[in-house]
Amino acid sequence: MNTARSNPINAIAMHGALILYTLIALFPVFVILINSFKTRKKIFREPLALPDAESFSLVGYQTVLKQGDFFLYFQNSFIVTVGSLTLILLFGAMAAFALSEYRFRGNMIMGLYLALGIMIPIRIGTVAILEMMVSTGLVNTLWALILVYTAQGLPLAVFILSEFMRQVSDDLKNAGRIDGLSEYTIFFKLVLPLVRPAMATVAVFNMIPIWNDLWFPLILAPAEETKTLTLGSQVFIGQFVTDWNAVLSALSMAILPVLVLYVIFSRQLIRGITSGAVK
């Protein structure tokens, strides 16, 4: 590691590769952002040009804020994402703890069963889910989305977290038991803080697909009052006419909250990804 650091050619190559990747990754975001501030004509004529005095226009943002209840969509997305993440982390961690900590009949089978969801996409079951939601009366409620996303996120969460929880020292948990802590206290006070980096990893991996999802909001909660941001933005995309200003503005605004959540989790995330390698 030290030799790689001190060798200037290696350092340049490394940074060059990383900078290149960053540029490629950020380019679409950049294009969306600059075009959201341009007039419709300029978007098509010079899609890569920066907005200048002549082409600058906030018409997209104005449309977005006028048409539809953008803040409600925003709030819906936020409730669904945070709600699902909370449930995924809570139940995922609990299941992972049970699987990694307790010896019981069928432990292994249960682990496999829970991991099965990683391999089978939940969208295959869309029709059944829809029928279920209709019969329980949950269609067009945010609960429908939260429940589906929780189910979608749990397998990976259990898989990752149980792996991390196996690494938490048995001695520590046993020390807690000898000192008279309950299993819940051991879980919440001793184990969870130690797997926090893994929890952040799970949170980020789940957060972005949930925030961006169009499929389930479209099918399970398309009503005006339960529309999510992604679904709300779709009103600007028509079969024949698409209001690109509005779409780009809506997308620009949709990036922000994810960015904020990501910044919150990212310190933990980096530790989570590298913790095995560094320690």
Binding site: D171, L172, N174, I178, G180, K189, L190
Partner: protein, 331 residues
């Protein structure tokens, strides 16, 4: 009075039979060491005493009471772990007082007990530090302090010195011995290190493959081992084992001699070729070849022996042990 009684304790994990009919009695105030090679079940045995594992069959009594169904926190025990197992989110004071808080002791009691323990272990300056800010030795002292404050009927130590470096290990060993003297408490200590066992124990329990091989005081086991395993396990350098027919013609048995019971004797019965000589100053260890068998000889003082030298050895009178083909001692 007996502090701990194990009666026919068995433990299986699935089809693996880990502890086989263990019977041990520990008297009040005794320091008992479970020793054995890794995988012999000594840690599992300690964990069944602590209540962290259930016994499959048999009975565990602590201070006369059957505790098979009692959870660890109600057994009146305290345990010190190899990896210290300090609570990372609590400072030293918090670590030591948690168990008492859980047991709903009064604030004054908690404070007095923490003060007492930190004085005994000279932890006074560190009470407000977090485990991550302490060195290995300090962490182990906190772990011991956490055990002391509970005033347990039984202290359990699970290889507490394995993570410390050699010098610190020696100091902490002395500290534990002192602690035992000061507290007069019953202690059960698990280790794979026979030196720790010999130096600390009032009573050693030698375990192998989940069975008790022998129980006795360190010198009893050293001078009078029940079988070849115990003879070979205790003592450093380890006992030499040679075919007995080197001494008596035609004997199918094994001869065991401790390295210090061999002596240079020009008329001795054993013929050796020196392979390697370790000059330790106080002792000289000679590793030699005796008719294809490796043999270690420990001489007191300094001797000018060169590797490759051919020597003859004699065995001190009454110091040879004989074992049959199954390793049982022949008397």
């Amino acid at each position: 009075m007996t502090a701990l009684t194990l009666t026919n304790v068995n433990k299986s994990f699935g089809t693996v039979h880990v502890l086989k009919d263990i019977n041990i009695e520990v008297n009040e105030g005794e320091f008992v060491v479970f020793v054995g090679p890794s995988g012999c079940g000594k840690s599992t045995l300690l964990r069944t005493i602590a209540g962290l594992e259930d016994v499959t069959s048999g009975e565990v009594r602590i201070a006369g009471e059957v505790v098979n169904q009692t959870p660890p926190s109600k057994r009146g025990i305290a345990m010190v772990f190899q990896s210290y197992a300090l609570y990372p989110h609590l400072n030293v004071r918090g670590n030591m007082s948690l168990a008492l808080k859980q047991a709903k002791e009064s604030k004054a009691t908690i404070e007095a007990r923490v003060a007492e323990a930190s004085r005994m272990l000279s932890l006074g300056d560190y009470l407000d530090r977090f485990p991550s800010e302490l060195s290995g030795g300090q962490r182990q002292r906190v772990a011991i302090g956490r055990a002391i404050v509970r005033h347990p009927k039984l202290f359990l130590f699970d290889e507490p010195l394995s993570n410390l470096d050699a010098a610190l290990r020696m100091n902490t060993r002395l500290e534990i011995a002192n602690l035992h003297e000061q507290l007069g408490a019953t202690m059960v200590y698990v280790t794979h290190d026979q030196t720790e066992a010999m130096t600390l124990a009032d009573k050693i329990v030698v375990l192998r493959d989940g069975c008790v091989e022998q129980i006795g005081s360190p010198m009893e086991l050293y001078n009078n081992p029940a079988n070849q395993f115990v003879a070979g396990f205790l003592g450093s350098p380890a006992m030499n084992f040679l075919p007995a027919n080197l001494l008596e013609d035609g004997s199918p048995n094994t001869l065991g001699v401790r390295p210090e019971d061999l002596m240079l004797d020009p008329a001795g019965p054993l013929e050796i070729t020196t392979k390697h000589v370790e000059h330790l100053g106080g002792d000289t260890n000679v590793i030699a070849d005796c008719h294809g068998h490796q043999i270690t000889l420990r001489l007191f003082g300094q001797h000018a022996i060169h590797s490759g030298a051919a020597l003859r050895l004699g065995v001190a009178e009454g110091k040879s042990f004989f074992f049959d083909a199954k390793g049982n001692r022949l008397r």
